[in-house]
Amino acid sequence: MDQSEHVPEQHAQVLSLWPIGVAVGVAFALVGLLVSWWIVAVGAVIIVLFGTAWIYDVTRDRRPQPVAAAGPPAAGEQIERASVVEHETSRKGFLSAMTLGLGAAIGAIVTIPPLVFAGLPPFKKNQGFFDVDVDLGPLRDFEEGQWLVTHFNMNPALGDVAERTAYVRFNGDLEGEPSFTIISNRCVHLGCPVQANGPMTPEQKRTYAGGRRLVTFTPVLPAGGFGCPCHGGQYDTEGNRTAGPPVRALDRWAYKVVDGRLRLVGAYSVNEVEGTGKDANIGKYRLAQPGIHVDGVEQILYPFIPPS
């Protein structure tokens, strides 16, 4: 067909976007037939609304024009507006918009589920890693003032990655309750294992297998506190930072004594410890990842901490 012949016809055609809504309504109605009459009703309402608008749209040329449009033409402007309308309602423009829109919709339908699947499960609570209730054995096995490198597995099913180490010291009784200092060996700079700055006595190593997991204890004398081999962070025996890049004091394990046995029941972060041993005043915070400030002005950089 000759192009010049075809163009005048196009001018008369008024294409409308309302049929998309009608199609959505039909889809609702068909799905509703399978699912619920309410959805059929919603579909019917959509069909009626969009159908009315569609009919109104395509019959515009046959209805009397509004008075303003029929008034004296502001020549240039009028022509420009007409050409814009022509462009927007052309078959080509309509099909382009439909292709782009459908492509975007299909792309979203295909992309969003994998992205959610990749990104959200890591934030699910209680993934079974920290089944925190570690039995460290009867109190009589702990000698007052002695530090023990205490090694245990949080979840044997996960293998070596669930191995954890804590430095445990019995502080004697405080107001009739036994007091312990239990410091996590996870450096609060970037998570390497801190080491005791002092001699270990592996020949006095003992094990405790009374709980569900094997626990090993090795006496140690951290005369110089604790130090991290990765980037040189140093801590005193209460876990306070003394040198290097760490941003807070070492994390601690929460404990309780049940039936004369010491049990670990969780972990928490610490900004600073004042005093020592059983008289220590510990600034407790929710367990945070290494490298994160829990106090001071820097904490505003970490307003939301995901569950751990």
Binding site: P122, G191, C230, Q289, Y302, P306
Partner: protein
């Protein structure tokens, strides 16, 4: 000397299949367009760093695909499978070595290539977008190195990943969330290993390959830049110094009012 009858016959036989393909696909022309481009006269060996980097990437891709046939991304067997590749399989030590040391070669060559582009001023108009694509390739390449480092699942790789993930975790506001996404949970475990494996061998190589195509396309479209010591436009001889695309030395003003 006029061509002999025999030679014409041979040429016909050789060019017939090429013509057949060209007529139906245009591939011969495309390859000619890709290979037979005009380049500045004073290029030197520094201009080969880009293709050297590409070669390093191809080595990583090919050796990585083969290693994936033997590697097992599971906490119980990852370390043993790598020991098996290195010690027991025929030429396993070689292919793993190519992949392991080739990773460093790839990163180093990217930096050399970037230094060449920077020092030659080849990032300037109209090649800014190609610099940006290259920067994205550098970031993705480093991420490849980070994710690949965990896969041997020994003490070094484990603690390196702990530190790397915790560095990510210290980023303000979103850091802790990014760290959890990397770890596939609150702690590093077997899920972290399989996640890193998937990112290392599927997500990043696909992204890098796509960006390399874009990078190459822009090189072909814009041509190789004249080195700083090359002839300046006024010294150029019309014939042999004409740029690959005329618009590059005489660009149309971007707002000439037309």
């Amino acid at each position: 000397m006029p061509k002999s009858e025999r030679r014409k016959q041979v040429e016909t036989v050789v060019t017939y299949p090429l013509d057949w393909i060209e007529e139906r696909t245009g591939w011969v022309g495309a390859i000619k367009y890709f290979l037979f481009r005009k380049v500045p006269s004073r290029t030197n060996w520094f201009h080969t760093l880009g293709s050297a980097t590409l070669t390093a990437f191809l080595v990583q891709a090919i050796t990585g695909i083969i290693l994936a046939m033997y590697y097992k991304p599971d906490p119980d067997s990852a370390y043993e499978s790598i020991q098996f590749i290195t010690n027991d399989l025929t030429w396993g030590w070689l292919v793993r070595g190519m992949h392991r040391f080739g990773a460093s070669v790839f990163i180093i060559l990217m930096f050399f290539h970037m230094a060449r582009v920077f020092l030659f001023g080849a990032y300037k108009y109209p090649r800014e977008v190609n610099w940006m694509v290259g920067a994205a390739l550098l970031i993705l390449g480093m991420f490849e190195g980070f994710t690949g480092y965990l896969l041997p699942w020994d003490q070094t790789s484990y603690w390196a990943s702990v530190v790397g993930i915790n560095i990510t975790g210290t980023g303000p506001f979103v850091g802790p969330f990014l760290a959890n996404i990397l770890k596939a949970g609150a702690e590093i475990d077997g899920n972290t290993l399989s996640r890193f494996y998937s990112i290392h061998m599927l997500v990043l190589p696909a992204a890098i390959a796509g960006l390399i195509l874009l990078h190459l396309w822009l090189v072909i479209r814009l041509g190789v830049s004249n080195p700083p010591w090359g002839p300046q436009p006024e010294e150029m001889d019309e014939d042999d110094e004409a740029p690959a695309r005329q618009g590059l030395v005489q660009p149309t003003p971007r707002s000439n009012g037309k």
